[in-house]
Symmetry: C2
Subunit: 369 residues, 2 copies
Amino acid sequence: MAKSPPTEKPHSTPCFGSLLSVSNLERLVEKLEWFVDQPSVTREEKALADNLQSRLAKWDQFKIHRWRDGLVAVPKDKQPAFLMAGHLDTVPPSSAQTRKRENGRVYGCGTSDMKAGLAVMLEVLENFPDAPVGYIFYDREEGPIVENGLKPLLESIDLPKAPTIVLEPTNGEIQVGCVGSFHLDVVFQGKRAHAARPWQGENALYLAAPLLTYLSQREPDEIVVHGQTFRQVITPTILTTHTLANAVPGEVTINLNVRFAPGSSHEELIEEVKREAGPKAEVILKDLAPSGAVCSDDPTLAPWIEAEGLVVAPKQAWTDVAQLTAMGFPAVNFGPGEPAQAHQPDEWCPEEGLLFCYEKVLKLLKSGK
Amino acid sequence: MAKSPPTEKPHSTPCFGSLLSVSNLERLVEKLEWFVDQPSVTREEKALADNLQSRLAKWDQFKIHRWRDGLVAVPKDKQPAFLMAGHLDTVPPSSAQTRKRENGRVYGCGTSDMKAGLAVMLEVLENFPDAPVGYIFYDREEGPIVENGLKPLLESIDLPKAPTIVLEPTNGEIQVGCVGSFHLDVVFQGKRAHAARPWQGENALYLAAPLLTYLSQREPDEIVVHGQTFRQVITPTILTTHTLANAVPGEVTINLNVRFAPGSSHEELIEEVKREAGPKAEVILKDLAPSGAVCSDDPTLAPWIEAEGLVVAPKQAWTDVAQLTAMGFPAVNFGPGEPAQAHQPDEWCPEEGLLFCYEKVLKLLKSGK
């Protein structure tokens, strides 16, 4: 259920003492809960986008732009010094998943990935509506790349190519670049038969087993880019047997999710899969999301990263840093969520992550003044 | 689409010359087409059962009994010397499957398994309505054993325990006994994770791969019963990953279809699966259909089998010979279909099988006179 937006006025002078940190944290958690209480599984972000749009419309300082269920809020009268970006959608919740707050964590679907990031964005926006910051909330990040709302949203508006913080879960690290991602269908053709006489057919699961065995023993490729190590991995995620309980499956499809490093060729990984799947398997490239460039040397971001002593690490996940850097926005990932919690059935976000990320973003805000 | 039943009167004196064989064949094919043109996937047999019931009701000689979508037709004024039995349902058709007649074959869903058998039954019934033969048409054979309509149909009527021919596909052989059948779910628990960082989870497909490899190399157990060799086999049929394209599957379920010989213990096969799946896998017995006794020495059937020189072989499939022999009906499989065609996407039945089976049944009819 959506709560009404809070009505408190923004603080005019932020302060980082511990009492104010407590009140900052409470407001951040309140905003995170506001997002979590509005389910927004991919393609079902409309209600959340509508409510968020109404909430943003209360601030005269912003021009609000919408495309499908994505929103951009930019200052009406100034150029943004930097942008913050986050996706509104989540993967589907698990059956027993509910929102709760316990032992310094907020539990719920999408807390780490990435409604905690959205909460930080909303808190900065509502607390500092006069700051030179632009906000990008977009839809359908967790689905197929062809439906991702970021690129069409940005192409439908004229936005300066300012440095951009993507608030995907990074556990408070600056995570640079991002691995590219693609999906392959590997199709094994056997011969269907009655399960009482399996020797009259050819079980496609048996044709698929050697590839599974190979992948189970495969170590990640470690690729170093600008001093950061990215890992290339091949993961079987969905296996489909297309058959009945009493028939030898005549066809098996394995969906592989493959990640590749910035600057590396995805084609070598496809060749590896083809080699290990064998000449009789069909390997189909279903989609491809590019890798993201490493932008930690951006002139706005680099001094802030150094002054705050932020840990810089490679982003071992696909994020829209890929699309942003391809479109000319120098972008890095920096968010409050815990990466290992993304897509977990009992996903949580650490409260301290919310506060840390928020306070560091305020430093960037100050550094530009 | 259902055709209207043919209106020709039954022949009073059958003759086995080649010209009459041609006309017998045409009538058999016509009846097979009548059945094939009325789709009857398991649980959807009602329309076919309704039309068949109307067709049988035209013959005064029979008492017609119905239970759900199963029908029994028994002579009103005489004890049956033998019974013929067949199931009305089929597995779901494949997408491109249509009925056609080509090169001595009739193609279509359920032709071999076992509408060709139903066609022989209907031809005997309509051609020899005064013969001492009873007919059992029943529903839901291809689904779970708990829904199988044969036992409740027979329990709802008082039928003498006459020898019974089950017209499952046997390619004109007498196939005795039948293997028992059961399904196991083998559940592997890993740990779900984001597919970009698979090392943070445990891929349940990798836990399942060794069992698939073992089964791919396993030879059937050969078990000899009354001189007939039955093969015990374990076949993985459905594998379910329960996950998204971008997540490491945290749980995998493999459905195993297992066949065991008459008189053999199914429990040893469960122990084998448990041993090979490993101690962390959960093995769940989902259903169990018993094996069928070997009845080729029945005093009515044995002389006929010998006189006609019929080939006797073990039935390497589950058929309702299991339930019939358990209920006290001495039963064997003898049908016109081709066993290897059962459940094939382009299933066919040989025309010569129809004629052979029909003519041999007429010999049994004569032998009892």
